[in-house]
């Protein structure tokens, strides 16, 4: 069955075929035909953002909190260039999104037309793939292929550039099921020989550790379940990257907490001293490894990743397994059980005791005294008051993000949305909007710093218009906290441009947007203020005034090994050598 329709109608039909229920977008000249079609239907909800960057981050927040593909719609030229940051963010964090951009008509391409930009050229390095559709006949198949590429293998962002004449012209629509199978079919099943080798290593390991990442969450809820089964059956300690939080529950007995530059002492020490490291869906990012030459010197390293290019990129894998995390975990469990569920129980028990000793260091300890709220205290209270709720947490980027990762516990995957690889300040508000659209009845909190938050604060208008009760929990230290921390540790306490002098009054700002503003500057009032935020039926901007010069610890200084963590103020003087100072 083929149906004749315009390109614009095809876009809407293809989205419907793909099960899309919400699109984040901003209209403009080159996408008017598509907006005209959106106007004439009710299946797909359109969320009008206030800036195209917000549209893409909102699509990311939607995708991360659901596991589905997020969709953004932007116009040509500035619409597309504003989408670039979001696309790069999604590429770095492997988030499946489809961005549809308008383009000037095909006969005007290359003429420097009004609002023309070489969108496929600009977005080529920041998408998994992109297409310029020049014929309406190819449009529907290209859109279906776009969804396939975005969501298959290692997920990522794709962009489809749609010239205006292609949107107006008519052709026959190809439904999703009739699209010929794409040649893009990444390897899903792991090699059984390698898997057996890993199982043998698991049986022999004396000091094993699971090091998991966003790949587990991308693989899906079933993969997270298999991970939990494997971890609990073996009793091996498990740590996770920032991106992987929630794959294994924070309340689980084998949980070490996050690892890496601001990871927990016990997690980093376990990584350094282990004899078997099982990397599942993580990529040995530089925030994780620290000094590569001193990274976990005594361990056999197994690496499970769906992307062959992740393996051996930074750290040489002794047991490389290319495949989807869920499928590989299933096979590991199958083989391990068939061989009699063996582990070196005595050695692992000794290792667990060592881990318990490390835990006793209590690396996140802080002292809340006086009349100024410590940011750690604010998050500890937020955690205590919300942990049993149906909760989704987004963050901006900086100290507050690291504290949130340290102090908030995640029991399930897809509950934690943060910009990991790219470190995009301004990610949190739009991401919280995307997550709230997907989960209208859940609590969505954006833990923010005031500087990051201001980068996309226009999106509060979106939250108001679409009645999205997102809670903006701003830890306000009137500083660019992480920049300030680095300047203190690395640049002789010369605080070059790392504070804001003219911050808005956030409560009045909330009132200006028509939502609720709450300010709290006293630790004694904090619980009541947080409860007031949670009780309010609508968006809240919570201005939490915190200690201005608090540093985030533990910290592995750049250019140092895992066991060279800085634990607190006293140990930081002169800790970062000149070689480390050039690293980021």
């Amino acid at each position: 069955m083929t149906r004749q329709m315009t390109g614009a109608k095809m876009v809407v039909q293809a989205l419907r075929d793909q099960g899309v229920d919400v699109v984040f977008g901003y209209p403009g000249g080159a996408v008017l035909p598509i907006y005209d079609e959106i106007f004439q239907q009710n299946d797909i909800k359109h969320v009008l953002v206030r800036h195209e960057q917000g549209a893409v981050h909102a699509a990311e927040g939607y995708a991360r909190s659901t596991g589905k593909v997020g969709v953004a719609l932007v116009t040509s030229g500035p619409g597309a260039t504003n989408a670039v940051t979001g696309l790069t963010d999604a590429l770095m964090d492997s988030i499946p999104i489809v961005v549809l951009s308008g383009q000037v008509p095909t006969f005007m391409i290359g003429n420097d037309a009004f609002q023309e930009a070489d969108t496929v050229g600009i977005t080529r390095p920041c998408t998994k793939h992109n297409w310029l559709v020049k014929e309406t006949e190819n449009l529907s198949a290209t859109l279906h292929e776009a969804f396939h590429v975005a969501s298959t293998g290692r997920p990522g962002p794709v962009l489809v550039d749609l010239p205006k004449d292609v949107q107006f012209a008519s052709a026959s629509y190809t439904p999703k099921r009739e699209v010929t199978v794409s040649h893009y079919q990444p390897q899903i099943k792991g090699d059984m020989e390698e898997i057996t080798e890993l199982v043998a290593a698991i049986e022999k390991a004396k000091r094993p550790v699971f090091y998991t990442g966003g790949g587990v969450i991308n693989s899906g809820k079933a993969a997270c379940q298999l991970l939990r089964e494997l971890v609990d059956a073996t009793g091996f300690p498990i740590t996770s990257t920032l991106m992987g939080l929630g794959a294994y529950p924070a309340s689980g007995e084998n949980w070490l907490g996050m690892l890496g530059m601001h990871g927990l002492y016990e997690a980093n020490m376990a990584m350094h001293d282990c004899d078997l490291m099982i990397n599942i869906g993580a990529r040995f990012d530089d925030r994780i490894t620290g000094l590569v030459s001193a990274f976990s010197p005594k361990s056999i390293k197994a690496h499970i990743d769906i992307d062959p290019s992740s393996i051996n990129k930074v750290i040489k894998a002794d047991i490389p397994i290319v495949g989807d995390v869920g499928h590989v975990l299933e096979d590991i469990l199958k083989v391990w059980k068939a061989r009699g569920r063996k582990t070196d129980k005595a050695s692992v028990a000794k290792w667990q005791a060592q881990v318990s000793d490390w835990r006793k260091v209590d690396c996140l300890a802080f002292k809340q005294d006086g009349k100024v709220i410590k940011p750690q205290y604010a998050l500890e209270r937020l955690e205590a008051l919300t942990k049993d709720m149906d909760r989704y947490v987004c963050t901006e980027v900086g100290q507050h993000q690291m504290w949130a990762a340290q102090f908030l516990g995640f029991e399930d995957p897809n509950r934690w949305m943060t910009s990991g690889g790219l470190g995009t300040m301004g990610y949190g508000i739009p991401a919280s909007i995307g997550a709230q659209m997907a989960h209208p009845d859940s609590l969505v909190i954006n833990v923010a710093g005031e500087a990051s938050w201001l980068m996309n604060m226009q999106e509060m208008g979106t939250a108001m218009q679409f009645r999205l009760p997102v809670k903006q929990f701003i830890l306000n230290n009137e500083r660019l906290g992480m920049v300030r921390q680095w300047q203190e540790l690395l640049h002789g306490e010369r605080y070059s441009h790392s504070w804001s002098e003219s911050l808005p009054d956030f409560v009045k700002l909330a009132e200006a947007f028509g939502c609720k503003g709450i300010r709290c500057d006293n630790p004694d009032d904090l619980d009541e203020a947080i409860k007031e935020m949670l009780a309010y039926d609508g968006p809240v901007i919570f201005d939490c005034l915190v200690e201005k010069h608090e540093n985030c610890f533990p910290m592995i200084p750049s250019g140092a090994a895992h066991n060279k963590m800085l634990m607190g103020e006293a140990s930081t003087k002169g800790a970062i050598k000149a070689g480390g100072a050039v690293m980021v």
Partner: protein, 186 residues
């Protein structure tokens, strides 16, 4: 189809165990990359090399299967074994890339390059140029009373050697196609 099809006919999906220890010594590798001949595919490949800081010593591309819209890109690149493995894996990630073959490690292969060289001169030098061209089996494809254009086919090394000999004899211009390569045998 996976980029890790390093060895033809092997069902081993991981190429990494073929090269257990990475050395720091740079090697020259010839890669054959089969791609869909679609707009921008060459830009994707070149952008990968420039964006990630890899070297391109030579690159040739042309459509080799008109019916299937398939092009073959032959890339000669230099890097440590780890970098070469990365390049192949990264190439394999590009959606319109169908196959990546490392002709340097997949067994014997033949490499050929075509070059045109313009040599200007008179008298003895002109005669000597013609004599050397004969030795190298270069053809004269254009001639004036004071110049030749030679066409030579061979390995890059042979063309280098010929160009070095022509330099003192009045070499003024060189155009080279870059390497085209195929594996030997079946």
């Amino acid at each position: 189809m996976s980029a890790l099809q390093i060895k033809k006919g092997s069902n081993k999906h991981s190429a990494y165990n073929l090269r257990p220890n990475f050395s720091d010594v740079s090697e020259k590798h010839t890669l054959a990359v089969l791609v869909d001949n679609e707009a921008g595919v060459l830009a994707r490949v070149i952008g990968l090399f420039s964006g990630r800081g890899y070297n391109i010593d030579s690159l040739t591309v042309a459509e080799v299967d008109h019916a299937g819209h398939r092009s073959r890109i032959t890339i000669v690149t230099t890097g440590t074994p780890q970098v070469i493995e990365q390049i192949k894996a990264q190439l394999g990630r590009i959606v319109p890339v169908h196959e990546v073959h490392d002709l340097t490690v997949e067994g014997a292969s033949v490499e050929r390059e075509l070059a045109l060289l313009k040599v200007e001169g008179e008298g003895d030098k002109r005669v000597e140029a013609l004599r050397l061209a004969d030795i190298f089996r270069a053809n004269v494809v254009d001639s004036t009373l004071t110049s030749f254009v030679f066409e030579i086919t061979g390995t890059p090394g042979k063309i280098d050697a010929f160009a070095d000999l022509m330099r003192p004899l009045g070499l003024t211009e060189v155009a080279r196609t870059g390497v085209a390569a195929l594996s030997r045998g079946l």
